[in-house]
Structures are given as structure tokens and as C-alpha cells.
């Protein structure tokens, strides 16, 4: 009997390890910033370099910070999803144009639409570094107190929007 059970147990253990291991994305490194206060920033707007925007102005609101760039291909995938979300008026999306060229970033928004409440311009990526950005796009869910509650690495798609981002936003809005 043992002779059959042992290989079966080994097989089950191995396959469960593989199942979990292979479905994990090694690029998805858990952010230590979740549960911490979002780094404050004050940056010029993408479309108007004379105007500054400070993250302090978002206090009291639940909001999304979406890090994007014109050179990032996955950002093009998530763009229509963000456009759709913006139209539904559920949560303000703040754009952080990361290590981009001003004209090129502006051109993207002019050409394919602007889902952002406003976009700040982080030319040298200093603020991106503060937020622990290493892959673009990244999206942060930030609560009324200015605490980062979640971080989505990679494109926002209808699925993670529906199952992960929006339920959290609704929950945070109730508080």
C-alpha cells in the first residue's frame, strides 16, 4: 500500500508547488509601501509647466495614482480601460508621467484621450523612485488619509479593475 501512497503524495506536493509557483509572476514583488503613507510630491503639470500640483491636495479623497509613459507599450493596453473608468466617475485618476519627454507624453493624451484628473510630470523619475516604481505602468490605490492601500504592477485590465481595484476603492470610500 505504502508503495502507492508515497509516490502519490510526492506527486501531489510537487504539483501543488508547481501550480502555485508557475502561476506567480516573479516580477510582482510585494511593495513594502502598502500600508504606508504615500510619499508626498509637488510636481509641475504635464500640460502646463508653470502650474504645480501637490499630493497634499488629494487629502480626504480616495484616488488612483497611475504611473505611465509614452514609451511604455503596456500603457497603451491599459489606456482604454482607464478612459472607461474615468467616464464612470467613480474615482479620480492622477497621472504620473514617468521619465518621459513632455511633448511625447502630451501627444499621447491629445491623440488617444485623457483619462486623468490631471497629470504631473516626473521627468527624471525621482518621484517614481520614491514610490518604488520599477516597471511601468503601475497603479496605486491611495485612501483618504493618504495611505497606499494597493499597488498594481503592470497594466490595469477589466479583470483586475473589477476584482481588485474597484472593490477596494468602494470599501475605502465608505470609511
Amino acid at each position: 500500500m505504502m508503495r502507492f501512497i508515497l509516490p502519490l503524495v510526492i506527486f501531489l506536493v510537487l504539483s501543488s508547488f508547481l501550480y502555485v509557483g508557475l502561476s506567480l509572476d516573479p516580477r510582482e514583488v510585494p511593495s513594502p509601501l502598502i500600508g504606508r503613507t504615500a510619499p508626498a510630491f509637488s510636481l509641475p503639470l504635464l500640460q502646463d509647466s508653470n502650474k504645480q500640483f501637490s499630493s497634499q491636495d488629494m487629502k480626504g479623497q480616495v484616488w488612483l495614482l497611475n504611473v505611465w509613459a509614452s514609451w511604455c507599450t503596456a500603457c497603451k493596453d491599459e489606456h482604454p480601460v482607464l478612459m472607461d473608468l474615468a467616464q464612470r466617475n467613480i474615482v479620480p485618476i492622477l497621472g504620473l508621467n514617468y521619465k518621459d519627454k513632455r511633448e511625447e507624453g502630451e501627444a499621447v493624451l491629445r491623440k488617444s484621450g485623457d483619462p486623468y484628473m490631471l497629470t504631473v510630470f516626473d521627468a527624471d523619475g525621482k518621484i517614481g523612485f520614491d514610490y518604488g516604481v520599477y516597471g511601468v505602468p503601475e497603479t496605486y490605490v491611495i485612501d483618504r488619509q493618504g495611505v497606499i492601500r494597493d499597488k498594481v504592477i503592470g497594466a490595469v485590465n477589466p479583470q483586475n479593475l473589477r476584482e481588485r481595484i474597484l472593490p477596494l476603492v468602494e470599501e475605502l470610500k465608505k470609511k
Binding site: 516573479p26 514583488v29 510585494p30 523619475g125 523612485f129
Partner: protein, 154 residues
């Protein structure tokens, strides 16, 4: 003209070097310190490479930040702490032993113990099989009789 062209050709590679040089700090001591430190940091974009050898954009940025911080007088430890604070312990190739990383450090030993356990179990079972008398007295007697018969025939 020919001479001018050949000089131009000789000079051409200099431009290639000039582009690379952008990556260097003016201070070779800082540069060496930075490379030493960067070797201990995982490139999060390329995962199994370290920041010192990676050519990714993200690693370039991290190296530049290390340089800036070093020039500003930060210690290696302060820079590492900053990186861990931003990107988590997974940026370290040699993470400290704590609650979060104990499976990482302890896992191999647990597996080793498990392996030794299985080995001991198997060895004990095998010994039990081997020490079983290979011949019962009756069988030995039977064999002796058969052998005698064989001898009697020849």
C-alpha cells in the same frame, strides 16, 4: 584628404567611449564603492542580475541614485535601507534572517532533514529485509540433500 579621413576614422571610436562615460562618477573612489554596493542589489526588472552588471534603465537609475547619495555623504547602510524601504527585501541578494525570510533561509534545511528522514527510513527497512535469514533450516537441509543426490549421480 586621405590622411584627414584616416585621422577621422581613428578619432571615431572616441565618440563611442564618450557615450559610455556618461555613466561614470568623476570620483573613482565613489564609483568603486557604488559598484561594490550595486553588486549586492537585485535588478528588479531583470531579476537574476545585479544592479552593477545590468544595463536596464531601472538599474542605471539606481546606480545614479547611489552615486548621488554617496556624494551627499550617505553610508552604504543608509542607501541599502532606502532601497529596502522603497522596493522591499527582495532587492537584496543576501536578505537578513527575519520572520518574513525564514522560509527562504530555513527551507533548504527542512528539505535536507526530510531527505535524511526518508533515507533513514528506507535504510532501516532494507536492513530488516536483508537480515531476514535467507534460508530456513528446512530449505538448507533440502538443498544439502539435493546436492548429495547430484554428487551420487556423477
Amino acid at each position: 584628404m586621405k590622411r584627414f579621413l584616416s585621422i577621422l576614422l581613428l578619432v571615431l571610436p572616441v565618440f563611442a567611449i564618450a557615450d559610455e562615460a556618461r555613466d561614470m562618477a568623476d570620483n573613482p573612489v565613489i564609483e568603486r564603492r557604488m559598484i561594490n554596493l550595486a553588486e549586492k542589489v537585485r535588478c528588479l526588472v531583470c531579476q537574476s542580475e545585479n544592479v552593477a552588471s545590468s544595463r536596464s534603465d531601472w538599474s542605471n537609475d539606481v546606480r545614479q541614485i547611489m552615486r548621488d547619495k554617496m556624494i551627499a555623504g550617505a553610508s552604504d547602510q543608509e542607501i541599502m535601507d532606502l532601497l529596502v524601504e522603497r522596493f522591499g527585501k527582495s532587492v537584496l541578494f543576501d536578505p537578513p534572517v527575519d520572520k518574513e525570510t525564514i522560509p527562504l533561509w530555513g527551507g533548504p534545511f527542512v528539505l535536507l532533514l526530510l531527505g535524511v528522514g526518508v533515507l533513514l527510513f528506507q535504510l532501516r527497512r532494507r536492513r530488516a529485509i536483508v537480515t531476514e535469514p535467507s534460508l530456513t533450516p528446512e530449505a538448507a537441509h533440502q538443498a544439502a540433500v539435493l546436492l548429495e543426490e547430484e554428487e551420487g549421480k556423477s
